[in-house]
């Protein structure tokens, strides 16, 4: 979680240099869902993500240098510079793909789960979506099919309460989101998305169920993004959320909470965490240097790989 936080803050700090020339959707404030969802997974389990994918990519074990190189548009990027921030993937660790169209990755994960079942594997497919994605028809189409066929897929809703600047209560009636899954006969779960332990244990239960042939699950984790929807700045001045609401969520900082829990349990101390932060900062600086210095792909590369 700390690594993801530091990477995202470093992206925000360096974005003004205009060398990362693609939109970035930062996950600061949402680290616990990414880590808690990916922690119970094996490398062979597949994760599908959205436009806000940095945290998911890193939590699943993606290569930091390849991620930053991709954001810098470099040939060494995980997509060779073809995707940018919204198309991160690393199949070697089961980070299957990220797509920026809301809801578009939901059936892809469902199809991966179908393939796993057809081949008799006990792996699971996980798709992480936002709260707006459940408004898309494809969410329901996929869930219906997954339950019908008892597929090992877990639909994770990272509910950060906003679709760009439009709040949940402007888009959906006041009802438990989990009711949508229950209506499809799909098992559901819910937890505080800023509580790493709660996310992890809820996810682990769903993963266990899926591996044993119990079928799909729909999990909702409430969390909050601190930065603007897209970009390195704050956007509270726009007035779509109150300063009070923002401060309340900042007070529930998932990284700070995890840090406090570690110290309180005796699993870590201030000195060890400071050393960890220093080590991570050095790694992150080195990854940025790699990305900045890596060569851009040439125009010739743009015409490759249209057909397999």
């Amino acid at each position: 979680m700390l690594r993801i936080r530091l990477v995202e803050e470093a992206i925000a700090a360096r974005y003004v240099d205009q060398e990362m020339r693609c939109p970035v959707h930062l996950s600061v404030g949402q680290e616990a869902t990414a880590v808690g969802v990916c922690a119970p997974l094996r490398p062979e389990d597949k994760v599908y993500s959205t436009h806000r994918s940095h945290a998911h990519y890193l939590a699943k074990g993606g290569d930091l240098k390849a991620m930053l190189a991709e954001i810098y548009g470099k040939a060494a990027g995980c997509c060779g510079g073809r995707g940018g921030s919204m198309h991160l993937f690393d199949t070697s660790v089961g980070m299957e793909l990220s797509v920026p169209i809301v809801g578009s990755s939901i059936p892809l994960a469902t199809g991966a789960a179908l393939a796993m079942k057809q081949r008799g594997e006990d792996n699971v497919a996980v798709v992480i979506i936002g709260d707006a994605a459940i408004e898309e028809g494809v969410f329901h189409e996929s869930m219906n099919f997954a339950e019908l066929n008892k597929l090992p897929v877990i639909y994770v809703c990272e509910n950060n309460l906003f679709s760009i600047y439009t709040s949940l209560n402007q888009r959906q009636p006041d009802r438990p989101i989990t009711d949508l899954a229950e209506a499809h006969g799909v098992a559901s779960g819910q937890a505080d998305g800023n509580d790493i332990e709660a996310v992890c244990s809820t996810m682990a239960a769903a993963v266990g169920r899926a591996r044993e042939g119990g079928g799909p699950s729909f999990l909702v984790f409430e969390t909050y993004r601190w930065f603007e929807h897209c970009g390195p700045n704050m956007d509270n001045h726009l007035g779509y959320r109150t300063e009070q609401e923002f401060e309340n969520w900042k007070g529930r900082d998932p990284v700070a909470a995890a840090r406090a829990a570690l110290i309180q349990s005796g699993a870590g101390d201030e000195a060890a965490l400071a050393t960890l932060a220093d080590d991570l900062s050095r790694e992150i600086d080195a990854a940025f240097e790699f990305a900045k210095n890596a060569p851009l792909p040439g125009p010739d590369a743009a015409v490759q790989h249209v057909y397999a």
């Binding site: 997509c79 198309h87 578009s104 059936p107 199809g111 991966a112 179908l114 057809q118 219906n144 099919f145």
Partner: protein, 376 residues
């Protein structure tokens, strides 16, 4: 390519094609599916009503019994989701063939097809593959109306990353389908319902017909006709009668809308100097428009007359047979267009039209012409 493509005249094992069995297009597709499924356990079918008694116009008949429900997957009425599921399975190494009863249903799935099927290989720098076939049926006749009759290949042909095939002949229907299933790129297959009834010589067992584009259905030196799908059969009939007045049509079955291999067409127009495209869709922004544009760009000096497009009349398809006359190009209107392009005399055109009227008989306009039973 002045002579018929030999891949069309020989069976897969080198036997002359005339020795192959005579079966219809729908059975050829069913054989292609069964052959591909027998060869590769990762091939599976998905469709609405894949297991119902009508079995997709007979094209999936018996496959549920042969391969089981895990490989003949019944599909909820959810086209975008299910095409996405098929793409997801393909990305995971399976080879799905998903069938849609009408091409219009694919409009519900356009997001998945355009964004995920067409682009995953590209955006992943070649790491992801989407070995997927999406069969889409083009309807016509018996009052199918505006939303069960459209031929939407130009929509899919617009996008790099998709392959779009429109086999006309039963042998191609099987050989191109097997090739599509074995291809690592997503392939859109557009089948015309009326072709399902046509018969042709189709080899048994496994063979592939390369997805490399045009095939010459009939050689000739006076005018090049480029046809798609069922329109080739109307053009073929026109060409046979035009030959009786000494006008030799070179009829080219486009077969692949994308990738569009223009080389055989440019070579043919280079000899004939005249081009007519006969489309199963509308002319504007269509397949024929693209062929004409490329000929104008690359073979302008060879042209003896402006290229000409024939396609559907410029309005949606009406249901009533009272409004259908004149809507579709047919052998008569094709022959008249060739007459104008080639400067045939009024008496020659009149003789051709009279013969075609006689041959067509009193066939109702909303049913397939019995002439098209084949063999081809």
């Amino acid at each position: 390519m002045s002579m018929p493509d030999t891949s069309n005249s020989m069976a897969g094992d080198g036997e002359p094609l005339a020795n192959a069995r005579l079966i219809n297009y729908a059975d050829a597709i069913r054989e292609g599916l069964a052959t591909a499924m027998e060869n590769d356990p990762s091939v599976f079918l998905m469709g609405e009503g894949i297991a119902d008694p009508a079995s997709f116009f007979g094209t999936t008949k018996g496959l549920l019994d042969q391969f089981g429900a895990a490989r003949a997957v019944e599909m909820p009425i959810a086209e975008n989701g299910m095409v996405g599921v098929a793409i997801g399975a393909a990305l995971s190494g399976q080879r799905p063939v998903i069938s849609l009863h009408r091409v219009e249903f694919a409009l519900l799935a356009i997001e998945q097809i355009v964004n995920n099927a067409a682009k995953s290989h590209y955006v992943s720098n070649g790491r992801h593959k989407v070995p997927l076939v999406i069969r889409m049926i083009v309807g016509r006749g018996w009052g199918q109306g505006p939303e069960h009759s459209q031929s939407l290949e130009s929509i899919f042909g617009h996008f790099p990353g998709l392959k779009v095939m429109m086999p006309t002949m039963p042998m191609d229907a099987k050989g191109m389908l097997i090739a599509a299933i074995e291809d690592d790129s997503p392939v859109i297959s557009i089948e015309h319902r009326w072709l399902h009834y046509s018969e042709g010589h189709v080899p048994e067992g496994h063979y592939v017909t390369a997805l490399d584009g045009p095939a010459v259905l009939r050689p000739g030196g006076d005018v090049t006709i480029v046809g798609t799908s069922y329109m080739n059969l109307e053009a073929l009939r026109a060409a046979e009668v035009l030959a009786e007045v000494g006008c030799e049509v070179e009829l080219i079955d486009l077969r692949m809308v994308r990738p569009l291999n223009m080389a055989p067409i440019l070579e043919s127009v280079g000899r004939t100097g005249r081009l007519l495209t006969v489309d199963s869709s509308w002319a504007a922004f269509g397949t024929g428009a693209e062929v004409c544009a490329q000929v104008a760009e690359h073979a302008f000096s060879a042209l003896k007359a402006p290229p000409r497009r024939m396609a559907l009349a410029n309005h949606p398809t009406p249901s009533s047979r009272g409004m259908v006359p004149g809507f579709y190009p047919d052998s008569i209107s094709i022959a008249q267009a060739v007459g104008e392009l080639c400067g045939l005399s009024a008496s020659d055109v009149g003789a051709v039209v009279s013969k075609l009227v006689e041959m067509n008989g009193d066939q109702p306009i909303d049913t397939p012409n019995a002439y098209f039973k084949g063999p081809f």
